[in-house]
């Protein structure tokens, strides 16, 4: 966690469209370094095998998250918030 050097909220807002936080963190609540193994578990696979592995990961993650959910809203469907 690194503190911002200098606070100038109006300039930040006018430049970025938002003000910066006082601390910087990744969007997820786990330690990324624990999950990065430099492609070790995939590196001996062919491209198609990696695609298949990705499909499996997708399916598992969506099914885990969807368990016990009765009603769901999917959004935004094709909306991009701000130009990339």
């Amino acid at each position: 966690m690194i503190l911002i050097n200098k606070m100038n909220k109006i300039n930040q807002f006018l430049y970025f469209g938002y003000t910066l936080d006082n601390s910087f963190n990744f969007p997820w609540d786990f330690n990324l370094v624990d999950y990065i193994d430099d492609f070790c578990y995939l590196k001996n696979l062919s491209y198609n095998d990696i695609v298949n592995e990705g499909c499996k990961v997708f399916k598992d993650v969506f099914q885990d998250l969807g368990r016990d959910i009765k009603k769901a809203i999917l959004y935004p469907l094709v909306v991009v918030l701000t130009p990339d």
Partner: protein, 331 residues
């Protein structure tokens, strides 16, 4: 949609008629049979209210561009707490859409690129923004080998510090597949070349959901992932031509297909709640005399006279004023 009982799923999308955001979801709903709530953001259909925007700013407790964020936070208010809300937040950047062209950029080069790519207002005032670089982290959190420096800045500052807050309404339950460790680690462990252009991600989607991804997408310029590269370039150039003609004639002869939300440039040129809110708040901001390098009256007049299209900047200035009134920026 492919994984669950479609009877219990609602799609929600928003935009204005003629834009891809508006038209493509209708096709998805028709093909899948999933119920669809389409929010028309045309100024005569969508009720903008200053009080709601002000209260929204207070609740957010951080200065963000108000208008777009309000729309996202408005959606769960329609359906309430009986539903769980699924969001694709971080899907694009995790899968590689924000990878820099060069993988070995130094941290300083990455900071410079991030600043260049994230100038929301497009204001070019070197004196005022001289120090903006100093306000970013002085060093990265991780090695470039684990995650590129550029993506670290994007994920931490833009995605987490801004978009996360802009998208999610804290009073409701969201499911975010692209924040799950297995998906994150799968994509971030891939070699650069497989993430570049989201190559592998698109192949996964095509293999898993061929029916859904045979539908045209906005990010593919109104072509599907299965279309040839010739179709892709045709779609891209068609959209470029429409934008060129609109710019050339200084009015929208055609609805710009890639519009996000609404046609704010035109909305602000007509008498409606949105233009009244923006006009009132940029006037209030002018009275404060805190943004002296911008003359809001001239900006407004140039926009109305079609000399320039300045809706982003005008709405940013109005957002600044609303955030000041809400106490999110202390003077």
């Amino acid at each position: 949609m492919e994984n669950f009982n479609s009877k219990n799923i609602h799609l929600v999308s928003y935009g204005i008629p003629g834009s891809l955001d508006f038209e493509i979801p209708k096709k998805i709903s028709k093909i899948t049979g999933v119920k669809h709530e389409l929010i028309n953001l045309s100024p005569d259909k969508f009720e903008w209210s200053y009080d709601l925007l002000y209260n929204f700013a207070i609740k957010k407790n951080k200065a963000i561009v108000i208008f777009e964020s309000y729309i996202n936070n408005y959606i769960p208010l329609i359906f309430g707490k009986d539903f769980v809300y699924w969001s694709g937040f971080m899907g694009d950047p995790i899968s590689g859409s924000h990878l820099p062209e060069k993988i070995n950029l130094s941290y300083e080069e990455s900071v410079n690129l991030f600043i260049k790519n994230n100038n929301y207002s497009k204001i070019k005032n070197k004196e005022i923004f001289f120090d903006i670089k100093k306000e970013l982290p002085s060093e990265p959190l991780l090695s470039n080998n684990i995650l590129t420096y550029y993506e670290q800045l994007d994920f931490i500052i833009r995605q987490n510090g801004y978009l996360r807050r802009a998208i999610f309404n804290e009073d409701f339950i969201y499911k975010t597949p692209f924040l799950q460790p297995r998906l994150v680690s799968f994509f971030l462990n891939l070699p650069y070349v497989y993430r570049k252009g989201q190559t592998l991600y698109k192949d996964i989607l095509k293999k898993m959901y061929p029916r859904l991804f045979s539908i045209k997408t906005k990010t593919n310029f109104n072509t599907s992932l299965f279309d040839s590269s010739l179709c892709f370039y045709y779609g891209k150039n068609k959209i470029r031509t429409i934008n060129f003609l609109n710019n050339f004639f200084k009015k929208n002869i055609f609805i710009p297909p890639m519009l996000n939300y609404s046609n704010f440039d035109e909305d602000l040129r007509n008498d409606n709640n949105l233009s009244n809110i923006v006009f009132r708040n940029i006037n209030d901001l002018e009275k404060r005399k805190i943004v002296n390098f911008i003359d809001t009256n001239i900006l407004w007049k140039n926009h109305q006279q079609r000399k320039e299209s300045l809706s982003s900047l005008l709405m940013l200035l109005a957002s600044l004023e609303i955030n000041i009134k809400a106490g999110n920026i202390k003077l």
